[in-house]
Structures are given as structure tokens and as C-alpha cells.
Amino acid sequence: MKIKINNKNYKAEDGELIYDICKRSGINIPTLCSTPKVHEGVCWICVVENNGRLMTSCNTKVCDGMEIVTESEKIAKARRINLELLWADHAGKCVTCKKNRRCELQNLAEEQKIENFHFIPRKEEMTGGEELDLLKDNRSRVVVDEGNMAISRTTELCVECRRCINICPTKEFGFNNRAGDVVVGTPYEKPLDCIFCGQCVKNCPTGAITDKNDLQEIIEKLDDLKKMAIALVDPAILETVAFEQEEIISKEKLIGILKATGFEKVFDLGFGMEKMLEQMTEKVKINGNNNLMLSHCSSFNLYIEKYHPQFKNNIIDVANPDELMAEIIKGEYAKKEKINPQDIVVISISSCVSKKIKKSSNVDYVITVRELGRIIRQKNIKLKDIKESYFGKEFAVKDEKVKNAIRAGGASEIIAKKTKVKYIAADGVVQIKKVLDDLSKNRIETKIIEGMICEGGCINGGGQARKLK
């Protein structure tokens, strides 16, 4: 099929979306609401013109003879008005927002040069008495959910793009109320109680769903000379940490930057992974039962607990690598180095959000890649001048292959090789559901089952950063 985009000929397959063709061909179309798999076409930012008619490019399939224009006065007008409408509905507290400079709405407004606002803001804090009067029946209900350890939500900053609704593997979110009063929320606005995979946090374009942590407290501890801050670096975060700060071009550079932000020691979490895999292998060897489930994915544990409790006993319970390492750090290591364990602050930098829920006492904080980015930005250091550095030698990784465990199927492969048993690995809730379904109907029989909630494993974890442009 042949179509024209901006007066140039392009080839397209039947059923392809206009947006995909443009993206493939290097034509930039801004968008706010689409996720990789679901295109709703509700934000009307990705508009293009086809023979004079405006349409959303993200969910319109190509037809023969289409003549698409991606930039025109009409398109710019549509984008401007709709963005302005969204802005007026947004709280606009940019300076104090967790997502400042990493907010897609803010970026779009800047990119589309939104300067004048015709609409009177709806959720902004108003001071003048007259203005408040004007807003009387104008302020919609704001729902704030701080009921868990990992994710904080506020509808004040929500632009109702529906990404979280579409991305959530267990369908926790939906629209509540209707028309202008619409808010994204859980049924009956109950506090969020899910498997905390964090994909919603990762995909939220604004600061409506964010990581929960007291960053100010963490920064204080980093600056405190009496405290020894130790960073545990999850190998998975190296995949995306550059999206958060482009200066982080290598592992060594990251370690250097971490030391500059106030971490006295930076250790490779690979050591803890080795320990975890060793313990798992031992347990698999001793255990005579079949269909043992690996416990390294915290969200998977929660998923089994909440949705399939009949398999609770199948899980071979081994602590997280973070916990295993922190235990040694606060025990043997502190003794050897003659430090009071209470002065050690272990901060795990992870690609996982649910580790915050499953956190044990020895790990003081779990922060995500996004939170690391915020700490670095808040510290305001000149990243370019920072020299490269290396992991502390006290916890050296014997075999770099253990790091494959961050990928789906990695951990089970390593264990299966050592113990010479069969295994099944599933990633993503859809696959996991299928395996569990087969299991309950006795259609499968294997030694170990690995489940990872995030598709692809930790490299695609909910705590990872996302490329914005």
C-alpha cells in the first residue's frame, strides 16, 4: 500500500497505524496518551491531517491513498488548544513537583510553545479572594492515596491520559465519575493494594503517580558525615540510568557520580545475587517436590499471595539479594571495619518498585532509577567533571554470568544448569496466568517455575527510567 506523508511517498502494510509509520520514518509526532501496546486516541495531541480532516494518528489505520500532513496551522491549533485545556486542569505546581523537568506535559507545553492561557486554572492554588470565588464550584475532588510503602498517587496532577489504566497488568485502575469530574482511581477509591510492579509509575506522564520515599531524609543521611552511606547497585539499572541523566555513559561514571552525591561505598548487587542463587540451588536440591517457584521477583510473590494463594507453599523462600548483602554489611563487614552497624545506611538502587514493600530491616532504603535521578539533580553537581570510579572490592562478583538473573528466565536457567532439572520461565502477568492455569489443571509438571511480573524481567522493571524523547 502506498501513502503520502508530507508530500513524500511511503510504503505501508495493511493494518499499520499512521503513528507507527511516521515513527519508523523519523517523523516526530508528539503524543501524551499512548502506551506501546494500547493506543486510545484520547489526548488529541498526536493529531495529523488527512485530506483536510483532523484525526488521531496513534489509533488510525492506514488506508490506500491517504495524504497525511503532520505539521500545519490547523494541527498546531488543535494541539495548542487541547494542551491549554489540559494545563488548566493540571495543578501547575511545577517547581515543587517530583516530576519537574521529567514531566511529559511540561515538555510538550515547552515544545509547543504554550505561553498564553485562555482558561482559568481549575486545580491551581489560588490566593486572591475574587479568584477563589470564581473557582467555587470549579475545584474538582482531589484524591490522594498514600496508603502504601511504594506508590503515592494524587489526582491533582492527573491529566486522565489513561496510560496507567491500560498498562496495569492486574487492572487496578479505572475511571471514576464522568465528564469534567472524571478521576482515575481504584474502585470506590480504596487505597491501592496491588502487586506494586510499578509500571504505572514508570508510564505516568506527569507527577500523578510517583515513587514514595522521603528523599529529603535520604539526602540528609548522605550529607551526614557520621553516617556511612552504602549503595547497592542493581545491574539492571545500568540499562536505563542514562535516560535519567545523559551524562551517565558507563557503569564507572555512575559509580563516580554516586560517590560524589555522598555514598561512601558503592557495591555491586551481583554479589548478593550470587548468594541468592546459591541458596536457591541448595533448596532446590534438597526439596523433593516438583513445581517449585523462585522467589526473586517481589511482585510475583505478592501476586501469588493475593491472587493464587493455593500456590503459596510452592515458593522457595530465599531473601532478596539486597537483604542478603545488607545482612553481611551490617554484620561481618561492620565488625571487620570496626563501624557501629547503626551508623551504616544501606540504600539499594533498584529497578524494582515492589522491593519497597518487601523491604526488610537491614536495607534502610530502596530507591528507583527515577529517584536516583532526582537526588542527583537536587544535589546540583557538575556531572561532566566527575571522574570514573569502581565498585568496592570487598564484595567482588565471582562470575559475571549471575547478572543474567535480571532478565526473564535468567535465574532459572542458572539454577537448572547446576542442578540439571527442567524449568519453565514466564514473564508478564498474561504468561504467568497461563502457566498457573496449566498448573492447577495438572497439565504441566516441572521442577522449577520462574515468574517475573515485568515483561522481559528486571531490565524492564517498574523502577526503571523511560526515554522521553
Binding site: L54, K61, I81, E160, V182
Partner: protein, 414 residues
């Protein structure tokens, strides 16, 4: 004056709607007999196509074409849905049909369902119509007892079950894809088209969704033939239509008249003209989502025509006289749409809200220059960029009012 043809209202006031025997005695279910005994689905479909019947819900899409699309689908499961989610302000024609002659509607539903090959039909009724739900439930029960519905309809091979599904009264659920979502148990939001419901509708199966008034025409067409129907009314859209006259007319209410009648004639001859001592200002054609007809448009023909300047819509006509407060009207329109938008897409969710806000300020006389600029922007974006037609509807009357009565609205005369 020649005798007027009544199709839908022929039994109104003459029979007891709660009693199926009275409907049968008045010649009811004869069309179903004829269909089952003498006709095939194909020939019946042919009659409907010849009749030129078009959708009475507002869009005016040819009914025969829609039924044909579903009939041609090869799927085993098919559905037929009667759209009775009447929630356009000032429109109560479908309610009147159920109130006066529910069995005519049922007969139409049975015939149309059998034509497309559906084994299950739904009546999606506005949940606020409590009394009408009761009437329909009783009617379905009676029809089932008389084997007009069930496993072997009139002891033939045809089978059909009818389920009454009460919605929650949302305006958007009158849009067919939102209606389908609602029956499936999802949130009442429009779906992306294509695929059209005729290919992939309720539970992923081919589905025909027709307005109740359209369906009520079908028994007459089957009985008297499509050609006879095509002779009634205008050439572009044959047949009769229920017009609902509201506002400052002397005799407001539902009246059945052939399509193609001039607005002037309808108001003067059938609605008794304007109330005494009042002066005609404008009329809104087709409910809250309709355009405004001024004095110069009074000679317009009321018919379904794609090129018409003022579309007929649902057939509701609101007559406004010069004592009316235009600001109250603006507020009434905008508050309706700001309440009834589903909230899915940005332009409609935010736009209808802002428009309502501005209408409120207009009424209080607090309009600022920033609002005047905003009005044009919002109307433009509602008109051009919304997901479903509701956004467009929300802008129609408002834009007409702004362009025609600028002086009154901005109070420039002072």
C-alpha cells in the same frame, strides 16, 4: 385536506397498551405472521430497502443498509439491539411509543432480528423510564405466551429471545458503541471505529443497533410493502416521523406527520402556532444538540438529508419566543453536556466543562476578554477534534447562538 397516514400512532389511544389481545384485534402481529408464513429474510430485507426507511435516532442512516450489513455477516452469533436510551432533552417520542403501543415495537424487533439472523435481541432502555420498563416487561411476557417470541416463533424454525436491559440513563450510551460497552458491563464510552458494530459489535459479534422509532415502522412496511412506504413523505427520506414540539407552542406534544413537511406548517397547522401574546424568536431542531432555525429558515423542510443546513436529528423542536433569556438557554445546554460527556477524550471533557463555566459567567455578566477568545477556541476544538460526535453536538447550538445573537449574549446593546 387529504386524510393523513398514521403508521406509528394508528393505535394510540384506541387500544390498551397493557393488553396484547387488543393489539392483535387491531391487526397486530399480522406482519410477523406474513413474515413467518410467506416471506424469507431476504425478501423482507428487500422490502425495507425499497421503503427507503432511514434511522430515526438522529443520523438518518438507511436502515435497510445497516440490516443488510449484519445479515451478510457469516458469524453464527449475531445480536439485534433496540436503542431506547432516549435522553436528549425535550425528546420523548420513544417513550410515547412504549406508553401507547409497546407491541408494535416488539413486533418490529422480532422481524428485524429474524431478518439479520440474530437469536438474541436486547432492548436497551434508559433506566429512568421505570414505568416503560414495566410496560415492556409485561409486553414481552405476553408475547412469549403467544409464541411471538421464544424457541419456535409461530411454530416455525425461527427462534428469538428478547432481554430488556436498563441502562443508568447516561446520554452517551445512546451512541451505539457506548451502548454496546454498557451491555457488556463496561464503562459507557464510545469505541474506536472501524471496526463498525455491524462487523464487530456486542461481545465481538455482528450487531445491529436501531432506534426504537425506526423499528416501529417495520411492521407496517412488511404488511403494506416497501413501495407503499416509499410513496409517503419526502423523496429523500420517505415515511412519517414523530415530531415533538416543545416550548412556546400552543399545543406542545408528539405528533406524527409525513417527512418533508415545512417547519412553518408544522408549527402553525399542527402545534397551534405560538402562544398568545408571544413572538417567535427561533426554534431549535433536534434537541439540545440541534441547530437553531431563525425566522428566515421557517420554510425549511423537515427531512433527513445529508446536505441539509439544519439536520432534523431526533425530531424534537423547541420553540423559543422573544421573552426567553438566551443566557439561561446557553447555561442549560452547556450544563447538560458538561454532565453527560463521558470524560474519555480531552477536548470534550475539558471543553464542555469550560463552556459551561463561561456560560455561567455570561449569565452573571462577568465575562472577560479572555473568555471571549476562549469561546472560539473551545467551539473549534469541540467541532474538530473530539473522539465521538458528542463533542460536536455540544458546540452546535452554542456556536449558532454566538454567531446569531452576539448582541444579546454579550449585552452589547447597553
Amino acid at each position: 385536506m387529504k386524510k393523513e397516514i398514521k403508521i406509528i400512532t394508528k393505535n394510540w389511544g384506541k387500544i390498551n397498551p397493557k393488553n396484547i389481545d387488543e393489539y392483535i384485534a387491531a391487526g397486530g402481529y399480522q406482519a410477523l405472521f406474513k413474515f413467518v408464513k410467506e416471506m424469507s429474510p431476504e425478501s423482507a430485507l428487500g422490502e425495507i430497502k425499497t421503503s427507503g426507511l432511514c434511522g430515526r435516532g438522529g443520523a438518518g442512516f438507511p436502515a435497510g443498509q445497516k440490516l443488510e450489513c449484519v445479515a451478510q455477516e457469516k458469524s453464527k452469533e449475531k445480536y439485534f439491539i433496540c436503542n431506547l436510551d432516549e435522553s436528549e432533552p425535550g425528546t420523548y417520542k420513544d417513550r410515547a411509543i412504549v406508553d401507547n403501543d409497546p407491541h408494535m415495537l416488539l413486533e418490529g424487533i422480532v422481524i428485524a432480528s429474524l431478518i439479520v439472523g440474530a437469536k438474541k435481541a436486547f432492548i436497551y432502555i434508559n433506566g429512568n423510564y421505570r414505568k416503560q420498563i414495566e410496560i415492556l416487561e409485561r409486553a414481552v411476557e405476553q408475547a412469549r405466551k403467544n409464541v411471538f417470541i421464544g424457541q419456535e416463533i409461530l411454530h416455525s424454525k425461527y427462534a428469538l429471545d428478547i432481554e430488556i436491559f436498563a441502562g443508568a440513563g447516561a446520554y452517551i450510551c445512546g451512541e451505539e458503541t457506548a451502548l454496546i460497552n454498557s451491555i457488556e458491563g463496561k464503562r459507557g464510552e464510545p469505541r474506536m471505529r472501524p471496526p463498525f458494530p455491524t462487523q464487530c459489535g456486542l461481545f465481538g459479534q455482528p450487531t445491529a443497533v436501531n432506534n426504537a422509532e425506526t423499528i416501529a415502522n417495520i411492521p407496517w412496511i412488511i404488511e403494506s410493502g416497501g413501495a407503499a412506504y416509499a410513496k409517503i413523505g419526502s423523496k429523500k427520506s420517505p415515511g412519517t416521523k414523530l415530531f415533538i414540539v416543545n416550548g412556546s407552542a400552543k399545543n406542545p406534544g408528539v405528533v406524527e406527520l409525513p417527512l418533508g413537511i415545512k417547519l412553518n406548517d408544522l408549527l402553525e397547522k399542527h402545534a397551534g402556532g405560538i402562544q398568545k401574546g408571544k413572538e417567535f424568536w427561533f426554534a431549535q431542531i433536534g434537541g439540545s444538540s440541534g441547530r437553531l432555525a431563525l425566522e428566515k429558515d421557517l420554510s425549511m423542510k423537515l427531512e433527513y438529508d445529508r446536505e441539509a443546513k439544519i439536520p432534523l436529528g431526533s425530531g424534537a423542536i423547541l420553540v423559543v419566543d422573544k421573552t426567553a433569556d438566551i443566557h439561561e438557554l446557553l447555561l442549560s445546554w452547556t450544563s447538560f453536556f458538561r454532565r453527560e460527556s463521558c470524560g474519555k477524550c480531552v477536548p470534550c471533557r475539558e471543553g464542555t466543562f469550560r463552556l459551561w463555566e463561561i456560560a455561567k459567567r455570561l449569565k452573571d455578566g462577568e465575562i472577560s476578554e479572555r473568555d471571549v477568545a476562549a469561546i472560539n477556541d473551545i467551539l473549534w476544538t469541540l467541532n474538530n477534534t473530539t473522539f465521538c460526535p458528542l463533542g460536536k453536538f455540544a458546540a452546535t447550538a452554542f456556536s449558532d447562538a454566538i454567531s446569531n445573537f452576539q448582541k444579546e449574549i454579550y449585552k452589547l446593546s447597553r
